[in-house]
Symmetry: C2
């Protein structure tokens, strides 16, 4: 296990400027379209009304859901995540009109906050006496956690303290209410989020109480007898009537350090594990790191879709059994893949290991990015890997957690590219950008020229203010079986790479160029036989990008396709495909429609006719006309 004494620090996204190409386009879309349109939705869909503390509560804007929950219980979380995403865009691109919208929300929250610091707009306006009576179901700390993340991001973007101060008062109230000290409730929120938000707050305030509170929540989780049992009985409920039946739904079935299998609600799990990594980072707690590491392996070796999506089941929005990865009914919530990126990014700051960053990259190019339409204002909540055309992107959702989550990830994506130590620069992701990092007190300019992910050639130029000795650590992606690296024309032996990172220690001077070549053939992937849904099938991947066949290109259901094992698959950039992307094509077979005379079933096997497979990046599906889609294609051999 890694020495925890020295950790990596990410280069802030505001210091990473995307200079054309893939992420320039996506971050611009999020800044110019997604963030403003989401505020419009919050307004049009009457979410913001919940903040009108000076008016009587009125009828619910949204009906009570089948679960018995009003989604309005946790609308605050949507405000928090939207402010966070908006703040990330503000940091490098000031926008007074946008700040004004945020300030309006902050002013209302400040107005509504109770005297003792409690803050949840729904409870304050409707059932203040019921606050803190149901941590199991009602997400109060989850909502405050998202407000807190928003407050930290807004403070860091603008220097304005008002929101941060509101949230520090809220945290003071939480701290006064929960804990092991006499008179406090020994509780913790069933939907994790406050924990990682408190670590973010601590990094701003340096107040150890903020870290300790996070540590308390993580340590208390899953201790028996369960707080949720006690709490239910206090409400007069029978704990046995719990809708989800097991506290594994909230990763609260056993202490976190004992957990070996990723279970329950996928987003909750990812947020918890992110917080565990945060605490390991801050406090060098090896026991938390070990647990987090083990769970990362469990997820990625037994429970992860090939797209980086996770959590197959809608019933618990999460995990079922290992290797249960159905394609058409995949839940694979956008938020979960977004949060996998959070977790992997945190782990790689402690332990430089490509298995973490490979999965960050997998999620951001595939299972997370598929959650937002190319137009930047339509979404998927569930990211299926197969469709018969019934799945369409929506403009808004009754539980719109995903839109703001993917927005805040993309708006801060620069932060995932580089981390530093006093004598190191680690490069995790590739893509055209121009950045600035502090290494050993010196500013180093970094530039990547590349068409990545469409091409594996990267020219990385380093420009320290003055010549400087440090180690460059380049991630060699796990998907790449043939890489080449040269510094100023001189080859580096890539076989010296450890855990997916190639170290180059030297004195760097302005204009040093590292040329990187990642061979990027189209790969055919096969799933472990326990994933019986994928037996006899193949998925196509090129570099970090997973492909799918879509009816919009084929003109017929992609389930009719059969790809010969020896088919040559050609990759070509198409500038007209949804802003430009590499398409794949191959000669393939298709089950023929010929010779059916009104029968539904017949003895004779349908003929196979020659057709052209055309595949597009999975993240771009459902941006054109309705129709079927498949990531896993039948393979003929």
């Amino acid at each position: 296990m890694t020495d925890l004494s020295q950790r990596y620090v990410p280069v802030d996204h505001a210091k990473v400027d995307f200079t054309g190409g893939f992420w320039e386009s996506w971050t611009r879309t999020v800044r110019e379209v997604t963030v403003p349109s989401q505020h419009r939705r919050l307004d049009e869909e009457r979410f913001l009304e919940v903040l009108n503390f000076d008016q009587p509560p009125g009828p619910l804007a949204r009906p009570i859901q089948p679960s018995g929950l009003s989604m309005q219980h946790f609308f605050d979380s949507d405000f928090g995540k939207w402010i966070e995403a908006a703040s990330y865009t503000l940091k490098a691109h000031p926008n007074p009109a946008l700040e004004e919208k945020i300030d309006e929300i902050v002013a209302k929250l400040a107005q509504g906050q109770m005297d003792d610091g409690y803050l949840n707009s729904w409870f304050i306006r409707r059932e203040p006496d019921k606050r803190w009576t149901n941590l199991r179901d009602l997400h109060e700390m989850y909502s405050m956690g998202h407000l807190l993340e928003g407050a930290v991001a807004y403070f860091e973007a603008t220097g304005k303290r008002a929101f941060l101060d509101v949230m520090i008062r809220a945290v003071d109230h939480i701290e006064a209410t929960f804990g092991r000290e006499p008179g406090k409730l020994v509780g913790y929120d069933a939907h994790e989020e406050i924990e990682l938000a408190l670590v973010k707050l601590y990094r701003v305030t340096k107040d150890p109480r903020h870290l300790e509170l996070a540590q308390y929540f993580v340590d208390e989780r899953g201790q028996m007898p369960s707080y949720y049992d006690e709490e239910a009985r206090r409400r007069g409920d029978d704990p046995a009537h719990y809708h989800y039946q097991t506290y594994a739904y909230s990763q609260a079935h056993m202490p976190v350090r004992e957990q070996t299998q990723v279970v329950g609600h996928a987003v909750r799990a990812m947020y918890l594990f992110s917080a565990m990594a945060d605490l390991a980072y801050e406090s060098s707690d090896l026991t938390l790191l070990t647990a987090s590491d083990r769970l990362f392996d469990n997820l990625t070796r037994r429970q992860l879709y090939v797209t980086g999506g996770l959590g197959p089941s809608g019933a618990n929005e999460g995990f079922t059994r290992e290797y249960d990865l159905p394609n058409e009914t995949a839940y694979a919530e956008t938020c979960a893949a977004v949060a996998l990126a959070f977790w992997g990014h945190r782990m790689a700051q402690i332990e430089l290991d490509g298995r973490f960053t490979d999965h960050v990259e997998l999620a951001i190019f595939n299972g997370a990015l598929s959650g937002i339409a190319r137009d930047g204002e339509h979404y998927f909540y569930e990211n299926v890997l197969e469709s018969h055309g019934q799945h369409r992107r929506w403009k808004w959702h009754y539980c719109p957690c995903c839109p703001t989550n993917i927005a805040r990830l993309i708006a801060s994506l620069g932060s995932y590219f580089y981390t530093t130590k006093p004598d190191e620069l680690a490069v995790h992701l590739y893509g055209a950008n121009s950045a600035e990092a502090e290494i050993g007190g010196q500013t180093v300019r970094i530039a990547q020229e590349t068409a990545y992910p469409w091409d594996g050639d990267i020219a990385l130029t380093l420009t320290p203010a003055a010549p400087a000795q440090f180690t460059l650590r380049l991630r060699l992606p796990g998907w790449c079986s043939k890489a080449s690296v040269a510094v100023n024309g001189e080859a580096v032996d890539v076989r010296t790479a450890e855990k997916g990172y190639l170290a180059i220690a030297r004195q760097w001077a302005a204009g040093d160029v590292v040329r990187i070549g990642f061979d990027m053939p189209v790969e055919r992937l096969h799933a472990h036989p326990e994933v019986s849904e994928d037996a006899g099938k193949v998925a196509l991947k090129r570099g970090p990008v997973v492909y799918c066949a879509e009816e919009a290109d084929l003109g017929f259901a992609p389930q009719l396709l059969v790809l010969p094992a020896d088919a040559e698959i050609v990759a070509a950039f198409d500038p007209d495909l949804l802003g430009g992307a590499v398409r794949l094509s191959a000669t393939a077979g298709k089950t023929s429609h010929a010779g059916w005379n009104g029968q539904l079933y017949r003895r004779e096997r349908p003929a196979t006719e020659v057709t052209q497979l055309r595949a597009i990046p999975y993240h771009l599906w459902a941006n054109r006309q309705a129709g079927g889609m498949a990531v896993w294609l039948r393979e003929q051999f």
Copy 2:
């Protein structure tokens, strides 16, 4: 189109005695286990409490469902169907203790019935002022229809009139309330059932008002403007808020004679079409027959599972688009396949055509029978065609419509074997039995000696009281491509068969033996390519029986199987398989687990290893340990 002037009359099930073999075993199970155990469930599960009219209503025995409905609204339908099933068993097997249980229910219903004849136990006890305010959602006539079918069956089995008289009063009340006459509501129940029940009543009472009321309901259905719109507005509801959004859900989107595609809730559709056939039968209404005939083709050529299951979607318990037949998420409610048998049986009484009886046989041996466990007291509501082990049979259901439906079908299955005209005997189904029919006023004894469906050889012996001239019409099943028929050793040319029935007109004398041979090889069936779920796959069928591969036999997920196109498939009777059944076996391939080192995805294609396919009749699945199942198997060619 058929001449409607002369129709076939079914030989009553009480005249058909199963003498060993397949249906003897199932009818005995239903009589000895299913019927008594269902009464126990109705009692244990507190369904019968709804009939305690002398007590205050008390809390609901069942919570309100997500749809906003209390299932108790229509518990009466369960009593009706259970009494109907019980009555069928009583008719040939008197059972005073069982009669006593029925009489208790009847007495309570009689006690609760309102002075004006209204009868619905839930409304009478809880919301008498709300009766008849929501025909769209609340199933009052559906419930009364099932009570009515029960009352007719009980009257026919025992001659007791009490229940029939209660229900005639209820029908009088319905007739006084609904119709086109001034002062009546021009409404009809959204859940069809009363229509076919009224025809059954008419056949007992011969009261033309009963037939006219059925005709009114069928004729009024789907007329615009919709009664449900008006009715919603009278309740103060906005019709636009209708949960199912379209009245196609209830086949009430257009007049029934204009409907060309089977849509909406599958059981509703089958009950409606059965009533349309009944009315065509009774009134020679060719327009209804034409519509019913066209819809039968639409269902069976574009929307029917290979098992005879129907209605793919749980969202509307019914149909979506043509060719949408997903396997693992198949809804294919037991009740729907049961009701397909009702419909096909009725159509064949008007029009002797094998396409009707072929589908009756398909449903009863497969998609309907799969709804009841071999032990006779566990059930499926949804009859999936593929599972990863998550589907298990249940003892009771929050909406237990299916158990009593499959029970009444099996308990009356004898009625599906023979129909007569004054000079004809039509044989529709095969299976060991000894029966008695009236043909031209003369009693003819019929005996079938056969191991059908495990074997296609049948010895049919006819014993008229005295030599008699009539035409025997033998169904030559559509699944059979090679049949032979001989009368007293003399071959009959089967090529003379028309619409699947072979006519043999002669003078019949006691002991005449018709030997029938249906070749019964294992057939490989392929689905139309528009059923893209089944592309590249094959289903196995032998005679009328559809097969599946079950993990209980294989020891691994059946999705890993691949069946070579040239594999020889061996059929053999196994007396130890769940009471005895023919198993299939073949040498096949299986995706190998070898060589995976903790990877979830890899480039190398998994090897295929040799294994043994073992398949059992689909209707017998999920009677042993939990595990996967597949009807459609990957085919290698």
